[in-house]
């Protein structure tokens, strides 16, 4: 009840007391009625206030609706997307490793044959080769050259495939960017929700949360800013040697 309303009600009440003391029944009845009316208008104001609050609450439900959508649809979808990133990077890595496995023996074979021919060629230049040996060397060179061509082509093809396999970066990058956007949206919605709920809740978030200091966290992001994190193998080695390792 506001103060002007209170003042006017007090005035009416005082007039009512005076009217009753003066036995003015008609005035007393009128004053009683107007007191009741003022009470009713206060009731209407309260109803109005509640209606507004209800309206606001319903509007806030729109935030909740998006949150429900995020929880029910977007989140499972995001899990799928992130699993897709794991599968895609895994496939790309295996593909690349596979081509490397195919290529290494080719280079070893070329190296081995070249070393053998190089040695004979050197002896030929030093005039140390017999005619038979020279014929043998000629045959080896003749056989070697097409192999060099063939293997080089294969190595070139394998390297091209390895280049193509790096396409995962683009694909997974796009998916991860979508996930970053989604996380941002969830964060905003949660902040809104906390603001709405915060009107009724005064509890502050619990501090001094118990954390396991050795819980596995995977690769550290922004490690430079965290004094508890070592940045490279050298720092790890230094720490271990300080422990008597």
């Amino acid at each position: 009840m506001d103060s002007s309303n209170q003042t006017s009600q007090l005035e009416i009440a005082r007039s009512l007391v005076t009217a009753l003391e003066n036995n003015d029944e008609q005035l007393a009845a009128e004053l009683t009625l107007s007191l009741g009316q003022s009470q009713e208008s206060a009731l209407f104001r309260e109803v109005g206030k509640l209606t507004r609050e209800l309206h606001d609450a319903l509007n806030n439900f729109e935030v909740d609706a998006r949150l429900i959508d995020l929880t029910e649809n977007e989140m499972p979808n995001t899990r799928d997307r992130l699993n897709f990133v794991i599968t895609t990077t895994e496939n790309a890595a295996h593909k690349t490793l596979g081509y490397i496995d195919q290529t290494l023996p080719l280079t070893s074979e070329l190296k081995k044959s070249a070393e053998k021919i190089d040695e004979s060629w050197h002896r030929f230049r030093m005039k140390e080769l017999s005619a038979d040996e020279f014929r043998q060397l000629s045959k080896e060179i003749e056989a070697y050259l097409p192999i060099v061509k063939q293997h080089s082509e294969q190595i070139h093809a394998n390297l091209s495939e390895m280049i193509m396999a790096q396409g995962f970066q683009d694909i997974t990058g796009q998916v991860i960017r979508q996930v970053i956007d989604l996380v941002g949206e969830v964060e905003n919605n949660l902040v809104q929700l906390v603001k709405v709920a915060g009107k009724h809740i005064n509890d502050k978030p619990k501090e001094n949360k118990q954390v396991d200091p050795i819980k596995a966290e995977g690769p550290q992001i922004n490690a430079e800013d965290n004094p508890d994190v070592l940045n490279n193998q050298d720092e790890v080695d230094d720490l271990l040697s300080s422990l008597g390792f």
């Binding site: 200091p213 050795i214 596995a216 995977g218 690769p219 070592l230």
Partner: protein, 124 residues
């Protein structure tokens, strides 16, 4: 020399396997976490354990502790290859009796250096 490689990512197992092959270690077996590694270790014949830390099921640090607590495996050389780089974690691993600690991403040279160092210490 039979080496058990434990990592939940098959590509990392493959990379480690290839690097070990280049270093002359051809006899390797693989497991994808501590739980699947344990029966292989219990079956015997493993001379060297290379393990990641962060894995589903049983983590590498728990596998290390389990190995050290088992009288048959207490002296098995264990090399940790992991992305876990918190000071506290490395101290705990050292206290648990790890023989070497390599942080990912790592190089072939680092792997060779740490393995050489482990065997040097064992031989001396």
């Amino acid at each position: 020399m039979k080496i058990l490689i434990v990592d939940d990512f098959s590509t990392m197992r493959r990379i480690i396997k290839n690097l070990l092959r280049d270093l002359g270690f051809n006899n390797t077996v693989e497991a994808d976490d501590g739980l699947t590694a344990w029966p292989i270790l219990e079956a015997g014949g493993i001379d060297f354990l290379v393990t990641d830390w962060n894995m589903p099921g049983m983590q590498g640090i728990d596998l290390l502790k389990k190995v050290r607590a088992d009288e048959n495996m207490a002296t098995l050389p264990v090399l940790m290859v992991t992305a876990e780089t918190k000071r506290e974690q490395i101290i705990v691993a050292a206290q648990a009796g790890v023989n070497g600690y390599i942080v990912k991403p790592f190089t072939a040279a680092t792997l060779k250096e740490k393995i050489d160092k482990i065997f040097e210490r064992i031989d001396s």
